[in-house]
């Protein structure tokens, strides 16, 4: 079973020029995001999802092949979790938008 990831409650994301500023009440820090990271949070706003599910959603937006985005998405979780924006949830293959 693949791990699922969920967006933390209470985070605020606002556009700042070409980037996005996110505040996490968990870390108490403000974090700058690029479009890719902000897009992942938007996907998770629709519900918890696995890496594969997030990649599939974003592939629909970009026209990429989902498999090509898988490693990029997988590589971002640690940073987003450390930033207090995302949490890893219990293993559940059925979650997702």
């Amino acid at each position: 079973m693949a791990p699922a990831y969920g967006r933390r409650d209470g985070i605020a994301v606002e556009p700042v020029g070409d980037f996005w500023a996110a505040f996490s009440p968990v870390s108490g820090e403000s974090i700058l995001l690029n479009d890719e990271s902000a897009a992942i949070l938007e996907v998770l706003a629709e519900g918890p999802a696995t890496t594969q599910q997030v990649a599939a959603q974003l592939a629909l937006d970009t026209g990429d092949v989902a498999a090509d985005l898988h490693d990029l998405v997988a590589g971002c979780w640690l940073t987003l979790i450390d930033s207090g924006l995302v949490q890893q949830l219990a293993l559940d293959p059925h979650v997702g938008p």
Binding site: F19, L33, E36, L58, T62, G63, L72, G75
Partner: protein, 193 residues
């Protein structure tokens, strides 16, 4: 014309970042903590120029069981060619090992020299006379002169390989080469064996 409800507005805004994604050019997701001053400029550069594919740092581990810790770097100097350091206490916090015995490096307030400076040996200078890759006690001269210790480098992190049985640092990758981003930007790395 009717004004839209907050729910309708939220619905329109919800996919804004996804709409901004460039078709066929999904880059690496980047999230960096905002610091004040010049670090902000560096952060923006990191965000604006992410790699399009994850880059891996080639590290030659002694074994599969090596432990890697991401720790914030420290530096000391007067602006150019500063010396850079890893502090044992920072490692201790990163590893969640505060108060736990058995980690010789982490428990003894030691300093690991990542790179030596070139600007002199007075309190505010870059601290020559130290060798990169060597561990020094907190009683070393550079740590005692005027009580000026290396300060945290905002946004600069380093991968430190630690022997899990002794707690000693057995390797440091400063990401100077084949870096995912620059040393001041990277937030993760992939171990290749």
């Amino acid at each position: 014309m009717q004004s839209s409800s907050p729910e309708q507005q939220a619905g329109r805004d919800k996919r804004t970042a996804r709409r901004r994604l460039i078709r066929g050019a999904f880059g690496a997701p980047v999230a960096l903590t905002v610091f004040s001053g010049s670090a902000v400029a560096g952060t923006v550069n990191c965000l604006a120029n992410p790699p399009t594919t994850p880059l891996t740092q080639n590290i030659a581990p002694a074994s599969d069981s090596d432990v890697f810790l991401r720790v914030q770097m420290r530096s000391k100097g007067n602006g150019s060619s500063n010396s850079t350091w890893v502090w044992g206490d920072d490692l201790l916090n990163a590893a969640g090992l505060v108060g736990k015995p058995g980690y010789s490096f982490l428990n003894t307030d030691r300093w690991y020299c990542v790179s030596a400076g070139t600007g002199g040996s007075d309190a505010g200078a870059n601290q020559t006379g130290y060798t990169a890759g060597t561990t020094y006690a907190s009683t070393a001269a550079m740590l005692t002169i005027n009580n000026v210790t290396p300060a945290l480098l905002p946004g600069s992190y380093i991968a430190v390989r630690v022997d899990p049985t002794t707690g000693t640092i057995v390797g440091v990758t400063n990401m100077a080469n084949a870096s995912a981003l620059t040393r001041s930007c990277w937030s993760s790395f992939v171990k290749t064996i």
